[in-house]
Amino acid sequence: MTAGVGSGLTRARASLRRLPFLSRLMTRGSENGRAYLLLAPTVFWLGLFLLVPLVLVAITSLTVRGAYGETVYRWTLANYARFFEPLYVQILWRSLVVAFWTTAICLAVGYPFAYFLAQVPRRHRGTLLMLVIVPFWTNFLIRTYAWVVILRTTGVINTVLQALGLISEPLSLLYTPGAVLVGMVYGFLPFMVLPLYTSIEKLDHSLLEASSDLGAPPWRTFLRVTLPMTMPGVVAGTILVFIPALGMFVVPDLLGGARTMLIGNLIQNQFLTARNWQFGSAASIILMALVTVGLMAYARSFGFEGEELVG
């Protein structure tokens, strides 16, 4: 800010202090009316193209599928009951397991990394952080495809291993649960590292010194001091990874095989291939419910009673 603006500001502030009543009068007026006018386009757009579609999906999930895939408006819970069938229990369970492991690996890999970022000299920190964010800004599809190039039978890993004479037949690395996990961790790692970094950076190092002065071995200092104090970062990172991982369908679609179908793939499949929108809608609502539960846990653990998150 320039000096000219600064001093002008001081003067303005002084003049306003003399007229508190007038300034309040000016800013009030018909606040409601003007606010609603400015918000009308947003309410219209999000109402029509976000809320109405969601309500539509909720309604569809409670109806019966006709012989030609059309919606027959007869109320039923059958679409939800189908999730008790072993096949779908398995898909739901697998989605949770994959999301869990993705989160756990991101946390295990990301924590020491974030710790490193928080303790490098300040002048290098900006660049190093930027380097974490850059891959996160590239298209998810492309980032996932990069792993196809690396993992497939004619891919980088197999070519190198064969050239070195370590294997004679290419390994099948692609289209496995392992490939899906690698792709997910790769896609979501920055979501974990950034909040971790933020909370580790705030850590008061005198507390760590106090702990070791009092005779605690490093691992105990970590478990009893460092970890509890960086918990907000751990929770934020966990939510930021777990929620999108739960609804992911690109990664299992490109890197996984038939055995790695997740709820996201199920939804896609029901809407586009099987054309059972009623069942697909029920799956969508279940996914939304899982996400909402996750968000509420997040809001609670930060103590703002959902105010900032869900209104």
Partner: protein, 255 residues
């Protein structure tokens, strides 16, 4: 010692983050069609892109969708940001919640629910349906970005202008707007990036004649993967990075 291990470990993490992208770029210059063995340097795949009709068409679609949806969501989102920043009004918390939904909703749910709406309304899937969807998910991101800018904004500047006799519209035009322009531009660039990049929601709202670049990449991946995909990915990567850098610069600009 401990420090050195941590440093070494972090080099490995950076390697994990960047190796795939470098491999991808590297093989866009490889002569061999079978990606993994290096048989010589070539620009052929980039040249091929320039003559690939579906890709050129997809590029046109992508840009059209991105520009229209960015323009619309920037205007709508900025108006919302001004209202949310400035006024107290009944239903503000509800409004916060509404603006929050597109940011946290699983993309796939937003995609299929829009598809359900379009089909129910009998709308033909195509560029307009994609644009509508992109506006819907961009508004919130614009609002968040512009609000962040407004947050560091000094109300006294406006009040000073009005004290000095400017009416409300003049104050907005001469004081408020110029000061929040970087925030608006940065929000617009974010919307542009999101639109250019979006696959999932576009996937469900696109029709046969309205393929965008991410959709094209997806179908190329599903059919036959040639280094042409790598070349296209590299071009998109460069474009995204450029936009993001620009957006970050604007966001950081001092008030």
């Amino acid at each position: 010692m401990k420090r050195r291990i941590l440093g070494l470990y972090s080099v490995l993490v950076y390697l994990f983050l960047y190796a795939p992208i470098f491999v991808l770029i590297l093989f866009s210059f490889n002569r061999s069609k079978l990606n993994a063995t290096w048989t010589g340097f070539t620009f052929d795949w980039y040249a091929k892109l320039l003559h690939d009709k579906p890709i050129l068409e997809a590029t046109g679609n992508t840009l059209l969708v991105a520009l229209v949806s960015t323009a619309a969501s920037t205007v709508i989102g900025t108006a919302a940001a001004l209202a949310m920043h400035r006024f107290r009004f009944a239903g503000k918390r509800l409004m916060e919640a509404l603006l929050y939904i597109p940011i946290v909703i699983p993309e796939i749910v937003m995609g299929v629910s829009l598809l359900a709406l379009y089909v129910m309304l009998g709308m033909e899937l195509g560029l307009p349906t994609i644009i509508i969807a992109h506006i819907a998910f961009s508004i919130s991101f614009v609002t968040v970005t512009v609000r962040a800018r407004l947050h560091g904004f000094n109300r006294y500047l406006e009040e000073a202008a009005m004290d000095l006799g400017a009416d409300e519209w003049t104050t907005f035009r001469r004081v408020t707007f110029p000061l929040i322009v970087p925030g608006i531009l940065s929000g617009a660039l974010l919307a542009l990036t999101l639109s250019l990049d979006d696959f999932v929601i576009t996937f469900f709202t696109a029709g046969p004649g309205s393929t965008t670049l991410p959709l094209r990449i997806y179908s190329m991946l599903k059919l036959a993967v040639t280094p042409e995909v790598n070349a296209l990915s590299t071009v998109l990567l460069g474009a995204t990075l450029l936009l993001v850098t620009l957006s970050q610069r604007l966001q950081k600009k001092e008030l």
